[in-house]
Each structure stands twice: as structure tokens, then as C-alpha cells.
Subunit: 260 residues, 2 copies
């Protein structure tokens, strides 16, 4: 049975303040927890129903708590809890700027919506992007909503928070990597020669890329609208940040495939 203190402790992790204090976050559901259990992220505690423990082998180093469905409901952040909740350590990835020269990397400048952030992490996973660098103003990826919407991709992507201006001032990035940013007035991405290794900046949902970051962009790109093909009037004025990310990543990766 769960004690009052356990319930209080777990539910406190819904708040960033307590996640930072304990360096812990929560993840839920069989799919995500199983992916975390086989990842480099350290799972500290598993609270789960007997069904979960019957079907999944848990390492002895992890604290296990068998609980009832109604207890899971009390600690869960989901409308319909799914067998298991895990308490995990927030990983502290070392950002090796030197290695970025040989990679495609996403930089998120002030992404605010947890759903968008989770979806972007999932897109990065699909397109084999290893690192995501978030501005300090970007939403917290260890927010339960973000963790859940990554569908397990959070276990495979290294996410770093840091001041973007200092990042872009570092000589390696400044001299050796093209920095792409999607802007309203950029080169048509479908007609742009895209390199294998680069940095792609994704801006805030409504404000776009911050003014102090724009000067660092070496390649301004844009996703064109196709309103010339339409018979009706009116024009879509924007794409959701996650959708824009998927189209840009798809274009970068397509180039590699088509060259083969």
C-alpha cells in the first residue's frame, strides 16, 4: 500500500520546482516505461500493478512497489492510467560541441507548448537526430505532458538546455556549421541544397525565432505555401511548429537518401 508521504512525493514531481529539487521525473504507461527501462536513463522506482510485474522483468537495483489500480489513479497524471508509473533520474548529458560538426542538430528557441515539444522529440528520434538543444526559455521536457507525448523517444534523444547566444558564439559552431532557420522570408526549402550536417533552429509558436538569434542564421529557409493551386480565396498563414519541424527534417534527410 502507498503511504501518504509516497503519494505526496510522487505528485510533487508534477511541478518543475520539485523535479529540479530531487532531480527526478515521472513517466507512465507500459510502452514508455519499458523503453526507459532498456535505455541509458536511470529508473529509480517502479509503481505498478501485479499485471505489469507479471509481464515485465525489472532489474533488482530498481525499487519496486506493487500497487492496486485505485492507488495508481491517485498518483497518475493520466485520465486513464496504464499499469505503471516510474520515477526516473533526470539525465545530465554532456554536450560535446565538437561532435556536432558531424551531425544534424535541432535547436529549439522558446518552444512553449508541451504537446509540440513532445512531438518534436519524437520527430527527432524518427529522423535520427541525436541532440536537441533547447533555449532556457523552452518548456521543460520533464513536464509529464511532454514525457508522455514523446511516446518513449525521450529515452533516446539527448536534450540539453542552454543559453543560445553563447552556444552560437562558440567558435566551432560559428565557423564550421551552417545554421539554418525557418523564417517567413527565406529561400524555398524545396529548392535549397541542404547539407548533411547542420543546425536547424525552430522558433517559438507565435513569435518565431528570437531577434537576438536571427543574426547567427547563415541559411534562411522557408516552407512555401501552395495557395496558387487553390481555387478558393484565403490563405493558410502558418504551420504549427512541430509540423514545420517535420517537413524541414524530412527535407534534410531525403537529400541523403536521394544521393545514394
Amino acid at each position: 500500500m502507498l503511504s501518504k508521504n509516497q503519494i505526496k512525493f510522487i505528485t510533487s514531481l508534477k511541478l518543475k520546482k520539485f523535479r529540479e529539487e530531487h532531480n527526478l521525473f515521472i513517466a507512465e504507461g507500459t510502452k514508455i516505461v519499458c523503453e526507459l527501462l532498456t535505455s541509458s536513463i536511470h529508473v529509480k522506482q517502479v509503481y505498478a500493478t501485479s499485471e505489469f510485474f507479471r509481464n515485465n522483468k525489472i532489474d533488482n537495483t530498481i525499487e519496486r512497489f506493487e500497487i492496486k489500480e485505485n492507488e495508481l489513479v491517485r498518483i497518475s497524471t493520466l485520465h486513464t492510467p496504464n499499469q505503471v508509473l516510474a520515477v526516473c533520474e533526470i539525465p545530465n548529458y554532456n554536450l560535446e560541441i565538437e561532435t556536432l560538426k558531424n551531425k544534424l542538430t535541432l535547436v529549439l528557441d522558446n518552444i512553449q507548448d508541451p504537446g509540440n515539444l513532445g512531438t518534436i522529440i519524437r520527430i527527432a528520434d524518427w529522423f535520427a537526430i541525436e541532440n536537441i538543444i533547447c533555449s532556457n526559455t523552452t518548456a521543460d521536457i520533464y513536464n509529464p505532458k511532454v514525457v508522455q507525448s514523446t511516446m518513449g523517444s525521450i529515452a533516446r534523444i539527448k536534450i540539453h538546455y542552454q543559453d543560445l547566444e553563447s552556444l552560437f558564439q562558440s567558435t566551432i559552431i560559428n565557423n564550421q556549421l551552417p545554421i539554418f532557420g525557418a523564417l517567413l522570408q527565406g529561400e524555398n526549402i524545396y529548392k535549397t541544397q541542404l547539407p548533411k550536417n547542420a543546425i536547424i533552429i525552430i522558433g517559438n509558436e507565435s513569435k518565431g525565432i528570437s531577434e537576438n538569434i536571427i543574426p547567427f542564421i547563415t541559411n534562411k529557409i522557408s516552407i512555401p505555401t501552395f495557395s496558387q493551386l487553390k481555387t478558393n480565396t484565403g490563405e493558410a498563414e502558418s504551420l504549427n511548429a512541430a509540423i514545420a519541424t517535420s517537413i524541414i527534417c524530412s527535407e534534410f534527410r531525403r537529400t541523403i537518401i536521394n544521393k545514394k
Copy 2:
């Protein structure tokens, strides 16, 4: 001031049953309502603050109700209501199957998540897709969550609900239009020659395209993963339905641009 009956009537439209009974839906916020006011959709009533009426001209044929912020809160479906709520007629678009021969059309097979559905409508708008045909099992696009997440695109896309099997059995579609479906085992979309006019089927978030629909697909495609580029183990196993839609639409439309 709003009467109890007005409040009851407006809030009843949050439910599909009452939307169907009255053939009405609600839309909120200055951006979406202004787009609807200039669209072919008939706005019947506008409930708004004095600020909204000061800044926007409303046609005389529309019933206007100036209300206070706290009254707006009572009828709104949003956490932070934004000046205006409109009651609109559900349009009854005529699906002219003959015209689909010359268009790119999306078919949604049992899309369930309102957020995904709204995002897909916005993607269709961006990529100049005029018609979306939804299976009868797809979520209701006049659900307030869907309406809000289209960001106004709902005013420009013709959405039809119908039985997909009968649609695909119609001779015109069967003989004259390629039907693309994204499946796990399809041709790599980046290496596929894509036509200008086609039907693209998007399947359910977890189950994919229904078994009874698969035989109608003439061109099986898939979005490849790029895990061969990764240094870590583990592999993203799926893309969100809206993300897959955006990548597929981008590929279809890119082909047109690059031919120019």
C-alpha cells in the same frame, strides 16, 4: 446580459448530439471568428465583448450580443477566452466526385484525436488541398477542440463524412485516380514518383488503415526511418498521424515545384 436559456443553448453545442440537432457549432477567439466571418460558412450569432465590436464590423444579418468578460467565461470552452464566441451553421458541402480527378484529396480513415484532426485540416490548408473526406468513424470536426486547433483553416477546407468503402467503389475513383496509402511495408516515399492528382489515405493513430480499405490502395508508400544513421540503439517506431500527413503532403507538393 445572457439569459440562462442562452447559456444552456450555447454550452449544449459542446456535445455532438446537440450540434447535429441544431446543425450548429461554436468557434472562439478573434482570429478564427474573423476568418469565419469572411468565409462561406454562415455565422449566425456573435457573442463578444465591447472591445471586439469596436474593432470588427459585423454584418447586419448576424445576431449580435455584447457581453461582459465574465459572461464569456461562462459559455467559453477555452481556459482563457478571447473576446468572442460565434455560433455558426454546419456547412453541407456537396462532394463532386468527378472533380477529384483533378485534385489532391485527403481521406481520413478513423482519425480519433481532436488535436490531430485539427492539425491535419491546417496542413491540408497549407498544401492547397480542397477536400478532406472522413470515414464516418472519424472524430467530429465540429468538436470545439478540433475547431480551435484548425486555427481558422476550417473556414477554407471542405470536409465530407461518408462511408469509405462506397466511396472507393465509385467508378471514377476506382478507374481514374491513384489511391495512396501509408503502410509499414510500402515503397519509400522519397523514391516514389508522385502524381499531381491523387487520393491519400491516412489511417487511425494506432491501428493504421482499416483492413476493408487496404484492397483499394493502388500505391503503397511508407516514410522510412533513418536509424541506420544513429549511433545509439533503439528505434522510433512510429510517427504521429498528423506528422505523417505533413511529410506525405510535402512530398506530393514538392514534386510540382521541382518540375517547374
